[in-house]
């Protein structure tokens, strides 16, 4: 009999959805933050999860391997591990492979967790796009090799997640040994599945991670839209769809995240009159082209990648998000109490407008009520 915690979507629902707590913290000066900060913050919001999923993502995790792709991979059978390792060996040069340092007593029925530092084989890459190469291979493992799931595949970052309260997931991974300049955290309240290790958040692809609270009612069309661009939504989770959407818009189509946010949560047509002509043109072009990616229904997400952490809610803010700043630190949270617990002396807190992204970057702290200029954003991206 299979352990249901190791299976995704056992009832074959349209998709897996859940309510949640989310938290993110970034030191925009690049200073490292200990794991106790996200652990304490997410644990305070325990009544927003139900013990069926928790996880963390950290950036700046492996400075000694910063040029290698760090794979965090879960195995639920030896056969799956053998097959995946064979596959990895075929396409990557593995600098280091090791079982992760875990405490199996923290959680019941835990899978095997392995970490690999790997680089694409030059003769296989043949001058192609490295990130696409890694992304394709990651998708391949997740969709066609059984009993294996890649939690994260980016450089100098990693995802730690599982079925349990976030506090216990942190105990399992002995998270206190790590520190990073960005941490995101998630506590999960799934409503239609007993919870699956791979389905916990953060969801990662390359160095993108997403934590998400909400239910994307547009999932059906988002998924079909992404299929046209080669993304297979194998997990049937909203978070997977969001991650691929961001990957498509930002990595493949080269849009700054602020602009991508206007595709995911566009202004209402009725508010277009309040925009300047250039922005109206931009927003219209995005909506006409990426209408199938509009994320509709309640959501708050924290998207992170190297040097960047972004908070975004749906257009009418049906799920909570609070922002706090203190010096160089930026905090995003479902509830303000969690930020106050780990950072009692916040300089500023605010609730962002629905659909307006809050962007923290190395060297850039957002302020309440700020707007952005198209030209500035693009100048930064080019």
């Amino acid at each position: 009999m299979r352990d249901l915690r190791l299976l995704n979507n056992r009832y074959g629902d349209d998709r897996v959805f859940d309510g949640c707590s989310i938290f993110g913290v970034m030191d925009t000066s690049g200073g490292l933050i200990g794991a106790d900060v996200p652990i304490r913050a997410i644990d305070l919001m325990r009544d927003r999860d139900n013990g069926l999923g928790g996880g963390f993502a950290a950036y700046g995790l492996y400075p000694e391997h910063e040029d290698s792709y760090a794979f965090h991979i879960m195995y639920s059978s030896r056969a799956g591990q053998r097959e995946t390792e064979e596959y990895l060996g075929e396409w990557f040069t593995i600098a280091e492979a090791e079982p992760m340092d875990v405490d199996p007593s923290a959680l019941p029925n835990t899978p095997a967790m392995y970490r690999y530092f790997a680089s694409p084989k030059a003769n296989e890459l043949r001058g192609g796009d490295t990130e696409q190469y890694v992304s394709d291979r990651t998708m391949k493992i997740n969709t066609s090799i059984g009993d294996s799931f890649v939690f994260s595949s980016g450089k100098n970052m990693g995802v730690f997640k599982g079925v349990g309260h976030p506090f216990d997931v942190a105990r399992f991974f002995r998270l206190e040994q790590y520190s990073g300049y960005i941490w995101t955290a998630h506590g999960r309240f799934p409503t239609n599945t007993p919870g699956w290790w791979g389905g916990a958040h953060p969801f990662g692809l390359l160095d993108w991670t997403v934590v998400h609270n909400g239910e994307i009612s547009s999932y059906g069309i988002n998924q079909r839209f992404l299929e046209q661009y080669g993304y297979q939504c194998s997990l049937q989770t909203d978070t997977e769809v969001i991650t691929y959407a961001v990957d498509l818009l930002v990595r493949r189509h080269g849009l700054p995240i602020e602009v991508a946010a206007k595709a995911l949560a566009p202004p209402f047509w009725s508010d277009m009159d309040q925009l300047c002509a250039d922005e109206r043109e931009m927003v219209t072009a995005l909506r006409l082209t990426y209408g199938g990616l509009l994320l509709n229904g309640p959501f708050t997400i924290i998207i992170a990648r190297k040097g960047e952490m972004v908070g975004l809610t749906d257009r009418i803010r049906l799920r909570p998000l609070v922002v706090g700043t203190q010096g160089n630190k930026v905090l995003l949270s479902s509830e303000e109490s969690a930020m106050r617990l780990v950072c009692p002396d916040l300089d500023e807190t605010w609730i962002p407008v629905g659909g307006e992204p809050v962007v923290a970057r190395l060297g850039q702290v957002p302020t309440g009520g700020e707007t952005w200029e198209g030209a500035e954003v693009f100048a930064g991206a080019h």
Partner: protein, 500 residues
């Protein structure tokens, strides 16, 4: 020849109510009601009655009702009344049986086997009375991605896009098939609603030129009324290949309907039959279609989307893919239940496939080929309600066309006599006396009311699902579930069984 055909309907006149006012006589265009001068009473030639309810609606004392003739043939599942009577009609007249409207045969109506979703607990439904609910739709070819220059300006060239405020448009109905007053009603309503009406293949009457910004003009096989100004005027130019009521068949507007005004609008001599050939005689292949599409684009300086309308037939998905690759910016698919002013009954009732299956397979195919963004899809032929609109959009349509429903709003009672030119409601006729039965101002008001009502209902449906933009329903088949369908049907529709 003595006719063996029995009356299909019985006109019942309550003698206690009838005041012999002769309204029923004056309203009836089929000579079913008459005044017996000798007896001084109103009577009926019931064999002429078509059950159009015109007399019933106008009888001031509610004295009239029309029933199906209770006369029974000997019970026979094979040789039913309609079958017997069709044979009798042909034996007595020779030739093809003509009819109007869309097929009335009980083919499956898949819309009635699809159910929509709503939010409960895990996500909130959205109240359209409190929150914006967006139905605005842009028709036209979309790029695969958007690129911006360093100053944030859109660099990607966009094909022309036409915005409609609600995803409901009016189907093509030509001047000649319907009266000018009907077209005026449609055009006026389209303008008030921010949507589009369609000239059909009968040309654009000069008095309707002022509605250009809400007009689609058709270029059909007869090329009636096509001239440079006709192509310059509208928002969209539609190449009509076929229609759901009569796939593969041309059209025939009899000479008696080609009045002075119709002849000038169609650019043909007065009193001559207006024959639309079955095919375009310059389109015998997909590459020929491409040439016509680009000829029109060249003629209009690439400023207008070019739409191509086809009837839903067996290979619609493959044909649609070819049309998109041939340069169509919009494809219109007209299903089996789509209506017509006149068609051979044998064609209307036996050729084509239901719109739901055609639409689902076209949307799926275009997505499989990665070209769904290159054309908008408009579905028509059997859209009866806001529920059908929502289901068509969930199956993959960008918008729908309504024809029969629009005519019903104007008074049509679906008696299927469009081909006779005697429409008692003054809709499908060019008789100058009968056409006065439509007042374009009131007609427009009725149409606006209908489409506004449906749009509000679609907003309620969207809100109930927890989404606030029509894009989030379009092609979102997870919001549909099937009931009473086979696995194959659900597979083609791309939906799952209710409860799963």
């Amino acid at each position: 020849m003595k006719s063996y055909l029995p009356s299909v309907y019985v006109v019942e006149r309550d003698p206690n109510r009838c005041i012999q006012c002769k309204v029923c006589v004056n309203q009836c265009t089929f000579d079913a009601n008459y005044f017996d001068e000798e007896e001084g009473v109103v009577k009926s030639h019931e064999e002429n009655c078509v059950d159009c309810h015109r007399c019933v609606a106008f009888c001031p004392t509610n004295a009239l009702t029309v029933r199906r003739n209770p006369l029974e043939y000997r019970t026979n599942a094979n040789w039913r009344a309609e079958v017997i009577e069709d044979i009798l009609k042909q034996a007595e007249t020779g030739g093809m049986l003509l009819t109007g409207m869309g097929s009335d045969k009980p083919y499956p109506i898949y819309f009635d086997h699809l159910l929509l979703n709503a939010s409960q607990v895990t996500n909130p439904s959205i109240d359209p009375l409190r929150e914006p609910m967006e139905l605005s739709t842009y028709l036209g070819r979309k790029p695969e991605r958007v690129e911006f220059d360093a100053s944030g300006r859109v660099k990607t060239p966009f094909a022309p896009q036409i915005k409609i405020e609600t995803p409901i448009m009016f189907s093509a109905m030509s001047y000649g098939a319907v009266s000018l007053r009907v077209q005026q009603s449609l055009a006026q309503a389209a303008m008030e609603l921010g949507t589009l009406w369609n000239t059909g293949e009968g040309g654009l009457h000069p008095s309707l030129a002022k509605y250009a910004s809400n007009t689609i003009v058709q270029v059909a096989t007869g090329r009636f009324g096509v001239h440079s100004e006709y192509l310059r005027a509208p928002q969209i130019i539609e190449i009509k290949i076929g229609q759901g009521a009569k796939p593969g068949i041309g059209g025939h507007l009899p000479g008696e309907k080609v009045t002075d005004d119709v002849s000038r609008t169609r650019m043909i001599p007065m009193g001559t039959d207006a024959l639309s050939p079955a095919p375009h005689h310059d389109i015998y292949s997909i590459e020929d279609l491409r040439q016509l599409i680009y000829a029109i684009k060249e003629a209009t300086g690439y400023t207008k989307p070019v739409s191509v309308k086809i009837a839903a037939v067996h290979n619609t998905a493959a044909i649609a893919s070819g049309m998109v690759r041939a340069g169509a910016d919009i494809i219109v698919i007209d299903g089996l239940r789509g209506a017509t002013g006149a068609a051979p009954k044998a064609i209307r009732d036996n050729v084509g496939i239901p719109i739901e299956l055609a639409l689902a397979s076209v949307d799926t195919r275009l997505r499989q080929e990665g070209i769904r963004n290159q054309a908008s899809i408009v579905a028509s032929g059997g859209i009866r309600s806001s529920g059908d609109v929502a289901k068509a959009i969930a199956l993959g349509a960008d918008a729908v066309n309504i024809g029969t429903a629009a005519l019903i709003a104007l008074g049509c009672h679906v008696c299927q006599q469009c081909h006779t030119g005697k429409c008692a409601w003054g809709i499908c006729t060019s008789d100058p006396v009968l056409t006065k039965r439509i007042n374009p101002e009131l007609g427009a008001e009725r149409l606006v009311n209908l489409v506004r009502g449906w749009s509000l209902e679609v907003k309620d449906i969207l809100g109930g699902m927890g989404v606030n933009a029509i894009e989030s329903l379009r092609g979102n088949r997870l919001h549909l579930r099937g009931v009473d369908l086979t696995d194959t049907e659900m597979d083609i529709l791309g939906v799952r069984m209710a409860g799963s």
